[in-house]
């Protein structure tokens, strides 16, 4: 029988604040529902125990500044580590698919981490993806983010990565946090077309979102032929969500899961903790386990307006045209200190809503026809003058890009406050800090 893994880690002793949406109560009713239904007694369900990710694994994927010790990462490392437990079970063939029903979430946490944003500090899926690549040599991975908010953190991490196809369906950024995720965001110079953002109008509903999946997302997945598909399974498309207004039902989520057929679903947001989560989580789990979810009906009924199916279809047509016509947003900008090659330059601002500050970033990537290219990100948190640098040598790096990464690392030491080298190809992380010198982090 095909096994479905479940890692349920509700972190009942952790919150971002007593009345914060990300609080102890969030998965309490989900637990009540899952336990009472007896889903763990389904013969094809296998439950796993949570684990803790070593910091080095997180650092292989994200730059944590000014220093990891400045952040309280415990809960986040358990959420990420638990995702890894399930990912390993998948890679080793113990399960056919799985659901990491864990908190805190991760998809707003990007390539650089200066604090918590959108309730996320570590990106659970991204850390998992890079772990699957480094430990099991998985080559092609696709992420389908069905949280109502744009998965901007995951997009940021893989924007220059030709090995990862990132697809996000979300409520239009003009009407919802984080305000990004437009059809024109297609990926960096070495990964053009590997990013697909589909901003949808409020009131899209079950039929609308299934239409988008069947007519755009699934064909794109078929074309890419990923080895593994990961679903960032946020639950705030639900009709009862207090912030968003997408009008999707629990059964609608069950169908989303059936269509995307993820190898792993990872919980993201969703803060309608009574009216949505117990039902949506159950529907997703049942769909993964191949069971009938048709009886999963909420106590409340949808009351919000829904866009008509025809206007949704024509909106999708416009979006496809916008996507087809999108132009690159980078410039080629040489600097005397940059190693040999052509470097794209993308300046960015990232807002951290939890603490209310801006990160200023200058992203650079080395154009390369052989690999994902060296990535160099300079980060600052004004008004502080300290500068942090992240250098990434991608999986499958060519010798030139690899050399460029180490040249940059050596050049930057002493010139900024913190330098982090992610040698994904060589499976090591080096961290240099003004006060401490170089630290080696194990990534295994």
């Amino acid at each position: 029988m095909n096994k479905t893994g479940i890692l349920f880690f509700p972190a009942f002793d952790w919150s971002l604040g007593e009345t914060h949406p990300e609080r102890e109560e969030r998965l309490l009713y989900t637990q009540e529902q899952l336990f009472e239904e007896g889903v763990f007694d389904l013969p094809q369900i296998r439950q796993f125990a949570p684990g803790m990710a070593p910091l080095g694994k997180a650092l292989l994927t994200q730059g944590i500044f000014p220093h990891p010790a400045k952040h309280d990462l415990t809960a986040h490392l358990i959420a990420a580590g638990s995702t890894l437990v399930l990912g390993e079970a998948l890679a080793e063939g113990q399960i056919q698919n799985g659901f990491a029903l864990v908190r805190p979430p991760g998809h707003h946490a990007g390539a650089t981490v200066l604090g918590n944003r959108g309730f996320c500090t570590l990106n659970n899926e991204a850390i998992l993806i890079n772990h699957l690549r480094s430990k099991y040599g998985v080559k092609k991975i696709a992420v389908v983010d069905t949280d109502v908010h744009h998965g901007d953190g995951t997009q940021d991490i893989f924007y220059h990565d030709p090995g990862v196809l990132f697809i996000s369906l979300h409520q239009d950024g003009r009407t919802l946090y984080p305000g990004t995720g437009f059809a024109s965001e297609k990926g960096g110079p070495n990964a053009w077309g590997m990013n697909l953002d589909i901003p949808l109008p409020p009131g899209t509903g079950d039929d609308g979102i299934h239409y988008v999946l069947e007519n755009w997302v699934l064909p794109r997945l078929d074309e890419f032929k990923p080895d593994i598909v990961i679903n960032s399974a946020g639950q705030d498309n639900h009709f009862s969500d207090p912030l968003a207004s997408m009008n999707v039902t629990a059964r609608g989520y069950g169908r989303i899961t059936e269509l995307v057929k993820p190898d792993l679903a990872v919980l993201e947001g969703g803060y309608s903790i009574e009216a949505a989560l117990p039902y949506v989580n159950l529907a997703i789990l049942l769909a993964l386990a191949g069971e009938d979810y048709d009886g999963v009906v909420e106590a409340e009924k949808p009351t919000r307006p829904q866009v008509s199916f025809t206007s949704l279809v024509s909106r999708v047509k416009e979006l496809k045209a916008e996507y087809a016509q999108a132009q690159p947003n980078w410039v080629w900008r040489p600097e005397p200190y940059l190693p040999d090659g052509t470097w794209a330059y993308i300046p960015r601002m990232i807002y951290y809503d939890t603490e209310g500050f801006q990160e200023v970033r200058f992203d650079r990537v080395r154009k390369c026809a052989h690999c994902g290219g060296t990535v160099f990100i300079e980060s600052r948190r004004p008004p502080s003058r300290g500068r942090y640098a992240l250098v990434r040598i991608p999986f499958g790096a060519c010798p030139q890009c690899s050399q460029a990464g180490y040249d940059l690392w050596e050049y930057l030491i002493g010139r900024v406050e913190t330098v982090q080298l992610q040698d994904q190809a060589g499976a090591q992380v080096l961290f240099w800090h003004l006060d401490e010198g170089v630290t080696h982090f194990s990534t295994s």
Binding site: F9, F12, D13, T19, E32, E36, E37
Partner: protein, 567 residues
Amino acid sequence: MRRHVGIDVGGTFTDAVVINEEEIEKKAKVPTDQDNLLQTLLSALDRLGLDGGNPVDEITVSTTLVTNSILQGRFPPVELYLLPGGGMKLESLSWPVPYKIMSGTIDYRGREILPPDELQWRRILQERRQNPLKSDHVAIVGKFSHRNKLHEDQLAAYWRLAEPEVHLALGHEWGQANFYRRSLTTYLNLASQDLWLEFARELERAVGERGCHAPIKVLKTDGGVLPLDQVRPVETIYSGPTAGVLGAMAQNPDASYVVVDIGGTTTDLGIVLSGSPLVSARGAKIGPYKTLVRSLAVRSVAVGADSAIVREADGLSLARYRLGPAYCLGGPAPTPTDAMCYLGVVPYGDRVRAEEALASLLPDEHHLPADLTGLAESLLEEMAGRLAAEIRAMEQEWQDEPAYKIWGVLHPHEARQFYVWVSGGGARGLRDFLQKQLRVEVRVGRFPEVSNAVGAALARPTFSCTLHLDTVLGRFSLEESGEQGKWQGSIRPHAEVDAFLEKSAERLAAAKGIDLTGTEKEPFDFFPIVQGYRTVGQIVRGRLYVPPGVRGHLNQRPEVGSRRSET
């Protein structure tokens, strides 16, 4: 001086002991008559020589009565009525018993979403009036009835008016989550009730007729004891493996070890961590029934000292069944016990017959002593190998227990240095073979043959009171008794909830006749309930309990004088 009697009814033999403080005063072993367990118990008692002139303080029995009746399907028909509401389809899980569906929906916090349909009730009772084959045992179970028993109570009240003679059992009396298991548990308990009450009555009477007036208690699968008339029958299933773990605890104070209790056809395994037995995270499973019955984390392996040895295409192997006693003890066919006897690692059996048994498994030209020794060793190696694999799997299962709090992830059970404690008939014979397989120390106690009876005799009551409180809805429930009531206290209770739990526990304990000593508390979980960025109340979970344990330890000094054996 306190004298305790313990009797363990095993699949093959029934063991009995009288324990006087920390010494075994008497031992007895009688064959188990599966068709007459009452008689088996009485003959074991008679072998101990109990009468009015030699009073004992308490008798504890561990019996397979309910286990057997469930596994053999020997119970009266029960009609099961379910109120499943929405959610997962009932057919997703396999139901070993038929059921009827009724309407009515309660949600995860115990709020009524859809009231039941009285017309439907009327129709069902009407049908029953016309049905001559209707059962007078009716179980009613609603999804989320452990959070709100409203619908079960309403239906029961209606039913009692119409059919006052019917025996009703309601699901909320098993107040833990899991609708599926709650349904089956309610069903099995109701189905076992008559059989159990009759057995209890007969046993009390027969013991009384022998001039013995000691209270009789029964061992539960969670390791606790209760008076015969207080126990819920289904809680007595699989008390044998539990008795084995308790027997080990009576001889191993405060250590961490794996218990291996070798029986005739099965071997039971258990884990003790720093003197406390590991309790199963889920309820016991019996045959096709998954239940909510709390049990120790034990597993039974289908290999024992009397397992038949069968010839297969690729050699000899140990069967899952027993043909009778070992050949060296007068039985019909070779067994692992014959191998032990031949190798001289057990002090019983006829070595000539053991040799004969082993020889029968080999072709004529291989009847040399070296061949027979090799065969005996390889048979015991196979047995030890199977047990070792199961021990490793059980340890892994324990390591894989889920945790739901950060505290639990940061503070896992430490990997301890375990040893292995073997009891049962073949304990001495298998020790070296197990030690070789597991590469840890394997110990055998002084009384391997009566370890289970010792466990029964020294078991003490367990107790548990788990509170679930929702201050917003003003409702509380106690898992173990299924009691539900109104919460009159504050919206955000603190010290108040502690006192409330203690008082509830005292009430529960008094009702069961349990003396509350040695209680422990799990830290309370407080879940602030927020509506619109305002905290409106809390859900609080807490538990007060007495863990399974023994009331004394056997003296482990070497025996003085000659070995006396009643077997």
